[in-house]
């Protein structure tokens, strides 16, 4: 008997007739009882709590804020996903943006002064940004190797709770949930409010 059949047979013998499916009481909160404004404010607080730097700006200030954040870090060369909105880096002088097409070598990523990405969504209660490899996010390595990550979050991408996030995310995409700066690397979050 193959190991597969053997294990499945043992499982079925162990359980007998099973006694029917177990109902799951789902009486926990799905959404936060907060206004839009408060959800965005809570996200900012929780990100700051996680030791990441956070800044709130209006849509028209995005370009200058980003340039200021990169200059403050004295960044010379940064990595960016190929489909980063070109406007985001419009105000940059003296910072070279290396586009990840063709895929940048890990050594180049390690040498760079950081990476700029967007995100798929963000979770207020946990101060989390979630990347799924979609628009303005690039492949997983981009945020794993460079020493600094600047993540742009639009206010309408912020959900209140984990259940809201799980319902919105696509399980078939490669997801990375980031809550606070990884060991030895920096994280800045730029919240763009409209």
């Amino acid at each position: 008997m193959s190991a597969r059949e053997d294990i499945l047979r043992r499982v079925r013998t162990a359980l007998g007739d099973g006694g029917g499916p177990v109902p799951v009481p789902r009486e926990y909160r799905r959404r936060a009882a907060l206004s839009r404004r408060d959800v965005v404010a809570l996200f900012g607080e929780r990100v700051a709590d996680s030791r990441a730097a956070v800044r709130h700006v209006g849509a028209d200030e995005l370009v200058t804020a980003m340039a200021a954040m990169l200059w403050a870090r004295e960044a010379k060369g940064i990595a960016v996903p190929a489909d980063l909105p070109p406007g985001w880096l419009g105000g940059l002088e003296g910072v070279r943006a290396l586009t990840d097409v063709p895929a940048l070598d890990p050594a180049v990523l390690a040498e760079s002064d950081g990476v700029v990405t967007g995100c798929s969504l963000a979770i207020a209660e946990t101060g989390t940004v979630v990347l799924d490899g979609g628009r303005a996010q690039g492949r997983r390595e981009l945020t794993l190797i460079p020493r600094h990550h600047l993540c742009v979050v639009h206010a309408d991408q912020i959900v209140g709770t984990v259940p809201e996030a799980v319902a919105r995310l696509d399980p078939y995409r490669p997801l990375t949930w980031i809550s606070g700066p990884p060991d030895g690397r920096g994280l800045e979050v730029l919240v763009v409010e409209d």
């Binding site: 996030a165 399980p171 949930w177 980031i178």
Partner: protein, 382 residues
């Protein structure tokens, strides 16, 4: 080796006991704060317990669903009856010259895998799983997911019970796990990957535990370590006396269930607890660990009933049953007990009982029984 024997050297080391106590105090405070931060924590625990029960109650169907979705997404599922079979499968998947890293987990420890850390330049890796979603074939890990970017083979080793039925179950488990494990609102990183996995599903005693209708609840465990952080026994002994398996209260329950109660470690672990219940209070999936320990103590006693030489406890209990079965014998026993107790007592306490009974007084004093029994006093009352 028996738990108590293995614990002795640990107990005699005050500096590591102090370190453990400080670490435990910090961990308890963090967990308490993190769980108090969610108004629906108790409702999440209810849901978490039910999700895990639902997984176990119909595990065969969920495993087949998991296999189908992993295969559909381009991966493959391998089945291992025990640790040796799992290691054989892994070495077949990663031939000797493969430069493979290891992302450790309880399951990779369980099958005895050792190896270098998986760094950014590793080409292949063996990783543990936090959850495997049967519905979608998704692997969930709680690290930045470096291992999931390797160009070579990614081998995932998981226990058959690490499955969860649906994607939406993660909305509960990803709230329970980080708060219980590290007192955080969320793990610093969570990564998922669907498809293209070489998944090794391990039994290694789990179907044996599953067959025990009461004991099966221990397989709800989501490996958070909250029970360990609150346990007064673990705080004093550390991990080593629990043997090669899991440490702390959940280890005291799982090790005997996976490996049986015949070996000396498995037979002693159900007794490595004061049954104070702190573990059950914090368990995010509401495993009644003290209840399971009592259940296992019963199994240990049952397994010894068949021995040719009875245990001291059994002899004592049989003696008690004999003397208590008859009024005259019982009266005589009471008189004799008072006489012996008088001989052994110093300052109102018995510090050491003779012979095999001495084991009982190793760790505690026995109060001296009153000179006169209640029945004698009743008869002589004016």
């Amino acid at each position: 080796m028996r738990f108590a024997d293995a614990a002795r050297p640990e107990l005699a080391d005050p500096s590591s006991r102090r370190t453990r106590r400080q670490a435990a105090t910090r961990a308890r405070a963090r967990q308490a704060e993190a769980t108090a931060g969610l108004p629906d924590w108790e409702r999440l625990r209810e849901a978490g317990a039910a999700i895990r029960d639902r997984t176990l109650r119909d595990l065969g169907a969920h495993l087949e669903a998991l296999e189908a979705s992993v295969t559909e997404e381009g991966g493959r599922v391998h089945w291992a009856r025990d640790a040796a079979e799992a290691r054989r499968i892994i070495s077949r998947l990663l031939p000797g010259d493969t430069e493979a890293g290891l992302v450790r987990s309880d399951v990779t420890d369980e099958i005895g895998l050792e190896g270098g850390n998986a760094g950014p330049h590793t080409r292949a890796a063996v990783v543990g799983a936090r959850f495997l979603v049967a519905e979608t074939g998704t692997l969930v890990v709680t690290d930045p997911g470096e291992s999931l970017t390797f160009p070579g083979t990614v081998v995932v080793v998981a226990g058959i019970e690490d499955t969860v039925p649906t994607w939406s179950d993660l909305e509960v488990l990803l709230q329970l796990l980080p708060r219980s494990e590290a007192g955080r609102r969320m793990h610093p990183a969570v990564s998922t990957r669907t498809g293209d996995l070489q998944l090794v599903l391990l039994d290694n005693g789990r179907t044996r535990a599953l067959a025990d209708e009461t004991g099966r609840a221990a397989l709800r465990c989501i490996h958070c370590s909250a029970c360990r952080d609150v346990c007064p026994v673990y705080e004093r002994t550390g991990a080593r006396p629990y043997g090669p398996g899991r440490a702390g209260p959940i280890g005291a329950v799982l090790t005997p269930q996976l490996g049986g109660v015949e070996a000396s470690l498995g037979a002693s672990l159900p007794f490595a607890s004061t049954l104070c219940g702190a573990c059950a209070d914090v368990c995010p999936v509401k495993i009644d660990i003290p209840g399971l320990l009592v259940h296992l103590r019963g199994e240990v006693v049952e397994s010894r009933r068949r021995r040719p030489v009875p245990t001291p406890e059994l002899l004592l209990m049989r003696g008690l049953a004999w003397s208590m079965g008859d009024e005259r014998r019982y009266e005589q026993t009471l008189v004799r007990r008072a006489r012996w107790a008088g001989l052994l007592a110093r300052d109102g306490r018995i510090r050491r009982l003779p012979g095999l009974l001495g084991k009982w007084t190793d760790a505690r004093d026995l109060p001296v029984p009153p000179r006169q029994s209640f029945r004698a006093w009743w008869r002589r009352r004016p």
